[in-house]
Symmetry: C2
Subunit: 334 residues, 2 copies
Amino acid sequence: MAKVTIKDVAREAGVSISTVSKALNDVNVVKPDTKKRILEVAQRLEYSPNLIGQRLKSGSTQTIGFFTSSVTGPYFSLLMDALAHFSEKSGYGLNVYISSDRHQIMNTIRGNLFDGVLLFDLVISDQDLEILNSEKMPVVFLDRKYTSEYATSVIFDSFQAGYDVGNYLLNLGHRKIAYIAGFEGVYDSEQRLAGLRKAMAERSLAIPASYLLQGLFEEEAAYNAVLSFIRSARLQGTEIPTAFVAGNDISAIGAMKALKHEGYNVPEDVSVTGFDDIDIAEYFNPALTTIRNPIAAQARQSIQLLLQLVKGERNVAAKVLPGELIIRKSARNI
Amino acid sequence: MAKVTIKDVAREAGVSISTVSKALNDVNVVKPDTKKRILEVAQRLEYSPNLIGQRLKSGSTQTIGFFTSSVTGPYFSLLMDALAHFSEKSGYGLNVYISSDRHQIMNTIRGNLFDGVLLFDLVISDQDLEILNSEKMPVVFLDRKYTSEYATSVIFDSFQAGYDVGNYLLNLGHRKIAYIAGFEGVYDSEQRLAGLRKAMAERSLAIPASYLLQGLFEEEAAYNAVLSFIRSARLQGTEIPTAFVAGNDISAIGAMKALKHEGYNVPEDVSVTGFDDIDIAEYFNPALTTIRNPIAAQARQSIQLLLQLVKGERNVAAKVLPGELIIRKSARNI
DNA sequence: TAGTTTTTTGAAAACGTTTATATTTTTCGA
DNA sequence: TCGAAAAATATAAACGTTTTCAAAAAACTA
């Protein structure tokens, strides 16, 4: 009992396959009687069209590809859920493709499986990007600013986020602020730092080099960085900052644990902030003051821009979404 | 500049398309010289095969479909990440399809897009399942026990988990234990309760009806349930349980907040446990004692069983994976 | 060198659809 | 009732591949 095709339906209904196709696709040209008969036969035989055949012929797939290298982090469920929701609402299927194999990824994107693609956290060369553009493949980046004829992006304003956190702490009276960075060269980490620096510069303040710690965006690395920083500061009798701005929430947690371990109370003795507003931020003690990015909005906008591209618009402008300062308990006035 | 096809390569290389196909697919029959020439041309023209064409012809897609209705919950990133990892390792692509539209889902599964599918948290009728089976579509369920000729499942042993938590608390000396249930009829919630009951029954103990609370697997609902339970118990002068087994972690957190609000310290005055081991469990204060399910193992097994089915094995036995008790701070001896 | 075998290449069919065009059937007017 | 117009249906091509089988080219053999 192989899978029933349009041919089987045609034979069973005593009609040609083109008529079946028209009946099924509601092309208003087939006689009501025959159409009814065909539909009945199709139902009885439990016919379900071969999507591959359809797609090959039509050239359109009504599906969006979401490509990413990994799915870790809480950011993800939220993003994917929203993406799925908005694409479904627009009548498009969403396919998530997870891989770090550049060649595989390009092959899949270029395999005519998708009407357009969303790209996140991928290693793709400029040359690859050009190929995509030359093949008129609609692309939206979720992790970097980029625009071309067939590509655009929807990202968060990490600079502004850093600036906002900076001003918040400065308004609370902090003057000595340390920054716990992510991996060297990570865009978000650097933008956040740049924003923070700008806020400080506006008040003629600066972050000394010794206040720049390496937290690698990880709890343990941040813990160790803060621990050794404090200890060596004590040893040298130098002053400890009144506030730590961590590059993300998880390193903020590492920082708080280190501070607690060294006998400092957060926020009484020292303030700590993060970025991202992960689940834990709210439940940790003290609850973490941080910046929340509008993930659902990013998903909605991405789908919207991508579909504009799919429908023929060109040079669609990129969007930069502002984050929101979530004030909790981990920072207070000095 | 339309996308280059195998025809373009053939023309440019002065050869037929069948030869190009053979050269590209490394069928060892084309003369080294021509092969080299073809490969060069393909590279120069940046040829990338149309996957739809390939798939239509070959009937195989080398991809696995993962179908689910929603992506919420921390369980997800972990599962997806592991799934992606293991499918890639097996040489299969993973496509995640998120939808609640039963008709859409069936259409997509039956559309010959996948060599096999993973199903989670979907509303699919028995009739649909029969159709899939009659079409020889390999299926693995991740949320319910099911086996048929072409289907099997990989699930967690919620009964055993409840039993283990029960014994743990009983060994700590607890005798009065309450259970905070999920939605009425939710399989996991009921299994966990059944396991707990068995552990108690083995010591001739039972859970009185008044100790069964409705937490809906949500923080707030659990909070409210526990709050009103405590208050009415106080009012009536009845005894309060020494331990609360919450149906999942998030309701355990709701319970702990309610207890704290009413002046009870966890775990000094009363013990609380959860199920799932979500991120927050470790960071909450007190850190939650709970059961962790081996998600990566589930992913690995699912892919493995699915591929057995894909490769022609029949009636593959279902797997039931045991959870692991993670002892932290929220429960202690009495 | 001619015949034979082996290697290499090409033509054509096939996968399951949709759609343009051709053909048949029906309807309608005179 | 016949012919023309309109409606319905069928035939065939096409989408981009792979694969079977036939044909051509190359390599041997005697």
